[in-house]
């Protein structure tokens, strides 16, 4: 297997006495899309900013495309031409127009992409005379994405690329990322939208409180088994139901009034639940059979840390 595009080991990033990243370890394989997910404040942005040299690590190590990042921050010049970055915070000249800015950034790279084509692919009119300051938040987001990609990087970090985008904007970003992956570019992205992860990510790293709490493909995280979930009264008395289920089978209240059976779905369990519902006058409209949603899994993994 080729060297990973990103290798982060026991990374700690501090702001004063607070640790935003507290011993994070993960790898992003070359040519894959790796998603960093987790709640606000989990340390995703600090991790990305440290990887691209905008923050210094208190301890631990970061290797980008096989080159170890200096501990004091900053990125080797040779690396900068191979790594594209979309920052969550800032990155645009407010008084510039999108195309002239994209052209300027392109001029700093040896073999840039066509800025006009890239903006158009992201749904930004390359001919617009509007300054970036006057664009909507979603449009600014698209321009930032174009700037990250205009140098044809081998590795690109996208910090919440779909935040604030409408459906067509998200689609455009998804298509672009899929295209990058097809072309062999390694992508590391952060997002709160599980739809992004399910559509794009080869590998998911779940982060909570500055640590990696789980990792794997979406299928690894969600599990292969179908499970049964149903809705009912909050804090329902389920003893009758649990009694007729196979041994060791438990029912958990994931959210108030939302119950999940801990065993793989099977018709016997399903009929027991239906019978219980009939006895207790509970409608079965919320009864579902299928995989757990990635959102539920991530929520459970990260709430467990509280």
């Amino acid at each position: 297997m080729p060297a990973p595009a990103v290798r982060v080991r026991d990374l700690v990033v501090r702001y004063g006495s607070r640790s935003a990243v507290a011993g994070l370890t993960f790898e992003a394989q070359a040519g894959e899309v790796t998603a960093l997910v987790g709640p606000n404040g989990a340390g995703k942005t600090s991790t990305v900013e440290t990887c691209v040299g905008l923050r210094s690590a208190a301890s631990g190590s970061v290797e980008i495309l096989g080159i170890r990042q200096p501990a004091e921050g900053g990125v080797a010049g040779a690396l900068r031409s191979n790594v594209g970055v979309m920052l969550q915070d800032g990155g645009l000249y407010p008084t510039a127009r999108p195309l002239e800015l994209a052209r300027h950034i392109a001029s700093l790279y040896a073999d840039p992409d066509d800025p006009e084509r890239l903006l158009a692919a992201l749904g930004v009119d390359p001919g617009t005379r509007t300054t970036i300051r006057r664009l909507s938040g979603g449009e600014q987001q698209r321009v930032k994405c174009a700037l990250a990609l205009v140098g044809r990087p081998r590795l690109v970090f996208l910090d919440e690329p779909t935040a604030g985008l409408d459906t067509s904007g998200r689609r455009a970003v998804h298509d672009l990322i899929a295209g990058l992956r097809a072309g062999g570019t390694s992508v590391v992205l952060t997002t709160h939208l599980m739809d992004d992860v399910e559509r794009l990510a080869d590998h998911v790293v779940v982060i909570s409180r500055g640590r990696d709490v789980s990792r794997g493909s979406v299928a690894d995280l969600v599990g292969d088994d179908d499970t049964i979930a149903f809705s009912g009264p909050v804090n329902a008395d389920l003893r009758d139901l649990v009694g007729v289920l196979p041994d060791g089978c438990r029912i958990e209240e994931d959210r108030p009034g939302r119950y999940r059976v801990s065993a793989a779905a099977d018709p016997m369990i399903l009929s027991a639940i239906a019978a219980w519902c009939a006895q207790h006058g509970v409608r079965t409209s919320g009864l579902t059979v299928g995989r757990r949603s990635l959102e539920d899994v991530v929520l459970e993994l990260t709430e467990g840390q509280e």
């Binding site: 691209v52 040299g53 905008l54 990125v75 010049g77 040779a78 900068r80 031409s81 790594v83 594209g84 970055v85 920052l87 915070d89 800032g90 990155g91 645009l92 000249y93 407010p94 008084t95 510039a96 002239e100 300027h104 950034i105 001029s107 700093l108 790279y109 040896a110 073999d111 930032k144 700037l147 140098g151």
Partner: protein, 247 residues
């Protein structure tokens, strides 16, 4: 790495900076209208006749060239750069192949270009007012170059070290201090005792003294003035290279 050389990145960044500068209306006012207006005012009115003598235009020209270098290379550059840091534009540039030294070089070069244009406007206005250059006027260009570089180095040092709002306040405050205590508008000789002896050591005082020699006296500028400017440039460049941060 093959591809784009450091020199062409600096040139590209300089073109970009100049483009943004010349688009900004407020900046154009500061760069062109105010210096030309100031020259007309000082030269045509009797406001400064005691200090400037009978032929006011040469001294007014030396004064205005000095003021416009300080305004463009120090105050305006520091403030604009401070706000670019705040908007996050510089953080992003910090992730591109452009290095910190290349960014600073590009900015200094763009400022130099703008100073050349504004000085040309001022010099043409002076000629229209009847000023005729002597052979010593060939010193004007190298002096403007040296002065712009020295002030740009300190403007960038300031912008790189403080928050945008602090840069705004400090850059404007220092502008006044440099102009008043450097003997730029009021000749150093007319300043009260201790200040008069301080003036030649300030970069503003040294630039004013050197330009006055070249423009008014028709003589080569004093070596000390050039050495003082050179020293401010060297220290300013070292400080900005050390303290400048992208974010």
């Amino acid at each position: 790495m093959s591809g784009v050389s450091a020199g062409s990145r600096v040139a590209s960044q300089a073109r970009w900076e100049a483009r943004l500068l010349l688009r900004n209306g407020e900046q154009l006012l500061l760069t062109f209208l105010i210096p030309v207006g100031l020259l007309l005012g000082l030269s045509l009115t009797s406001l400064m006749s005691d200090a400037y003598g009978d032929d006011r235009t040469p001294q007014a020209l030396a004064t205005v060239l000095t003021v416009s270098v300080i305004s463009a290379a120090f105050t305006s550059l520091a403030i604009a750069t401070g706000f670019e840091r705040r908007s996050g534009a510089l953080r992003f540039l910090g992730t591109t192949p452009l290095s910190r030294a290349e960014l600073l070089g590009g900015k200094a070069l763009a400022t130099l270009g703008v100073t050349v244009l504004s000085s040309a406007a001022v010099l043409l206005t002076a000629v229209a007012l009847g000023w005729r250059p002597t052979p010593a006027a060939t010193w004007i260009a190298p002096l403007l170059l040296l002065g712009t570089a020295a002030f740009a180095a300190w403007g960038l040092a300031l912008a790189g070290a403080l928050r945008a709002e602090a840069v705004l306040a400090v850059a404007n405050g220092l502008f006044l201090v440099l102009i008043l205590f450097g003997g730029v508008i009021v000749p150093a000789a007319s300043l009260p005792g201790p200040l008069a002896s301080l003036a030649p050591w300030l970069p503003s005082g040294a630039l004013a003294e050197a330009l006055t020699a070249a423009v008014v006296d028709g003589a080569a500028p004093p070596t000390t003035a050039i050495a003082v400017l050179g020293a401010w440039l060297a220290v300013g460049a070292a400080v900005s290279a050390r303290t400048f941060r992208w974010s």
